[in-house]
Symmetry: C3
Subunit: 360 residues, 3 copies
């Protein structure tokens, strides 16, 4: 039973809470414990989502998973906003997008490809997602470009521009939901032939209510752990001689994406590529088109000062690389292990870029 | 009879002329009247082109329409050149390219997609056009890059470079005509099966001579109206608190593209997607590969000082976004309403960018 | 017999050596003689490779050819490294990549397309190569971006970053060899049906040993001639009023690529497009993913000071243009003469850019 398994894994959670509470200066311990707590929670979340996804179509299952995976990112973002850490919010948005497109997708294609020589998926759905990624990339490049081009003359325009771009993005995202869940849902319905194969290891499939409850509980605990994580970024970065941006974009995002990571790899190993892609790419789309602009709008209510969508040039470059190469790899409806390896190579290059870039 | 219909619409033309002549300081009135005169003229132009296109193949019909649509842009450009308004010329070129690729194509895909769930078109022809767009984008990015990289050391080289790039572009365009109209014209021949369906609303199809005469007359009147429009850009921009670049790139281009706009939407509603695409994309190609370089060459004869192809960074970015996303959407030979909506979203983002950018 | 034919062509080689030895100040003569010597050698290399390729599959034949073609580039690079000419190394890497993707590929598609209306090739293999090109582009853009973003604060990080990116690239290249030659070699196996057609003009097919010996001898002589060429770049550039970068990126690369040039055109005329593409694109991939990073690593042993992968902005732009447009043209598995003409047009624009850019 999933609920019992989570009960067992909860052991990791109180350790993080205890360290954070009783030894608040032990930042690295809190950071490590919270990470250790998130990973198995994320695995449980993935498993539960899989069970739930088997009761629905691949498209809806992917959406479910992306939503629950990103609920955590949303809560992390809101926490960071309240503390006035706008740069951390933007670094975690960037890290989540490139982490999903390069690390999660790369690991899934590599793991799946090592077991199955060539894996196929719905090319029309993949191309449709790539188009949404391009829209997202445009929307994240434009504010940085505005900032660069307007120079010092437009501090006010910067926030207005981001605000209105955010509204365009949220409208696009809502239209995208109408498109994927209503008018063209058959386009995103994956192959359901191999569902039976996954059944073998499951005793009795639990009821939908319990699955949903487990999803919600796991997401909430991940969010709590993530808060501890975010709070320790600055001291841990100083301790390890890394920049805060590197820790935010690479380390935190890697932990935050572990839910998507484990589920996408699991699905790819089972050759359920439509679900694996809808998790990895769908998650990036949701963060870029929905979570990011929602955080901008929320910052007017919650944050000490409103934030904007202006990413740093390195962040813009990393997002552009990720979208272009993920689009190229997914556009033909086929994948293999080498495509996964290449995504991981680009991730390595981008990580090195953030690692070597000096703090401003 | 098309000629009579134009006679009825002529009522809008003299108003613009009268305002311009008798009340030259009423800039906003002239601007509005000229716009109002252009829109029905453009609709007539579209209808006539459609009738003519039905007598030929979709490919030739699209070329005809793009030519007549862009005759106006050409005349506007020459007028602006004579007045020494090089920046207006470049803004109207940029605006016309992004307007066709984002606004016209987006509106056509959205309007067509709301009536037909999935629309298909000749993917090979669409990809061929995308390649031409990439060549055009390269040619428009290179001079701006040269200008940026050479810094202050190369004011002379700037014009020579643009001059020679212009010659490369015109040669490419002429080769493209050989390709689309001679050696590979079967690639661009659209489906002609549904031509019969359009016939129903027409009484007696007029003779080709009258159709051509109507096309020419409508184009000439559009050109005249456009001149009034261009002359009032600067005062209207000041009056409305917008920058001249915004008015040139967005407002004027929107009116100037209304011919392509109405025809492309009409064709998409009738599911004649090959014609709709050849209008929207063909028009962009013609402007980038032919009209723009021809204006550069003409500036040596007509203008007080020669102009070059150096676009502003914001213009370069807008052209790049448009080409990449239009290429992605057209590459697979299928479209739906959401793809149209996404093109419009990118257009909204680009428009906001030009709106918020302060004048230099 | 190929060996005899090379004996006849050797006449061009001693002239270059003699000029270089007895009249070392006649730089232009040495430059011209070395170029004249390389071109027929390259043709012989191409012919021999073709004979050898006919004994194997198109994929392996292409790899053979790319290896022998790039052995020369590798030796030129090492020579330039030893002389401390890091910028020449990087210019020749850039020139070789854009020369193969634009000039060689463009000439092949044009020449083949003029004889065969539409030529088809393995689209999956072409897309796989495009993905490797994107990885290569990412890896060549990232160090330049780092350099630009870190500003003056990171002279040390620059070399470390390039060093680690180089290791990522070489690992990717080795994985790519496993992929193309082992796990997915059937993906890269071209059509072998038309092999018989090429046989007609050959008397008796020579033994593999002699073919390999001829390949090695031709490559060695090309390398020697190339050294004379490289040594005369600086004085020839000064003499002709060109910048060294233009001579390195355009002139030298054109001569250095003539092996790939002649073979790719020959193959395209015979409609063996899979071989033509694997030569043109495979060569670019090998240079970007293998030769370039190997030269960076070698510079720590051989050069007076280690070099890095930081290209100039113009070089980055040229590589980006080339990869994007070559990827677009090859992605659909079909080509025609106009696609070749467009690649040549982009090459013309890029050449003009390097020609007009003033030296720093």
């Amino acid at each position: 039973m999933p609920v019992l398994r989570i009960g067992y894994l909860l052991a990791f959670v109180p350790i993080a809470i205890a360290v954070n509470w009783f030894a608040p200066q032990r930042h690295f311990a809190a950071f490590a414990a919270a990470s250790a707590a998130i990973v198995p929670l994320a695995a449980e979340l993935g498993k539960t989502t899989e069970l739930l996804a088997e009761k629905t179509s691949a498209g809806v299952g992917g959406l479910l998973n992306a939503t629950f995976g990103n609920a955590a990112e949303m809560i992390i973002g809101l926490t960071a906003l309240r503390s006035g850490l706008g740069d951390v919010v933007k670094a975690s948005i960037t890290g989540s997008i490139i982490g999903n497109l390069l690390l999660v997708l790369g690991a899934a294609l590599l793991a799946g490809g090592l077991r199955h020589p060539t894996q196929t998926f719905n090319a029309a759905a993949a191309r449709s997602r790539t188009t949404m990624l391009l829209l997202a990339a445009t929307a994240l490049i434009a504010p940085a470009a505005y900032n660069h081009l307007a120079g010092g003359r437009a501090a006010a325009g910067e926030n207005s521009f981001s605000f209105e771009v955010s509204i365009v993005l949220i409208l696009s995202y809502l239209l995208g939901l109408v498109f994927t869940l209503r008018t063209h849902r058959e386009l995103f319905a994956g192959h359901t032939a191999e569902v039976g194969a996954a059944e073998e290891e499951d005793e009795a499939s639990p009821r939908v209510f319990w699955l949903l409850a487990t999803l919600a509980a796991a997401s909430a605990l991940i969010a709590w752990m993530s808060e501890i994580l975010v709070g320790s970024i600055q001291p841990v970065a100083r301790q390890c001689g890394m920049t805060e941006v590197f820790v935010g974009v690479i380390v935190v995002a890697m932990v935050g994406n572990s839910a998507e990571q484990s589920t996408a790899v699991l699905m790819a190993r089972k050759d359920r590529m439509d679900l694996a892609l809808s998790i990895a790419i769908g998650s990036s789309i949701q963060i870029a088109l929905f979570v990011a602009p929602l955080l901008v709008l929320a910052s007017y209510l919650v944050a000490p000062a409103p934030i904007n969508l202006v990413l740093t040039p390195a962040e813009v470059l990393a997002v552009t690389f990720s979208v272009v190469i993920a689009g190229q790899i997914c556009g033909d409806g086929e994948s293999n292990w080498f495509e996964g390896a290449q995504l991981l190579a680009v991730y390595a290059i981008v990580s090195l870029l953030f690692y070597f870039l000096p703090a401003r």
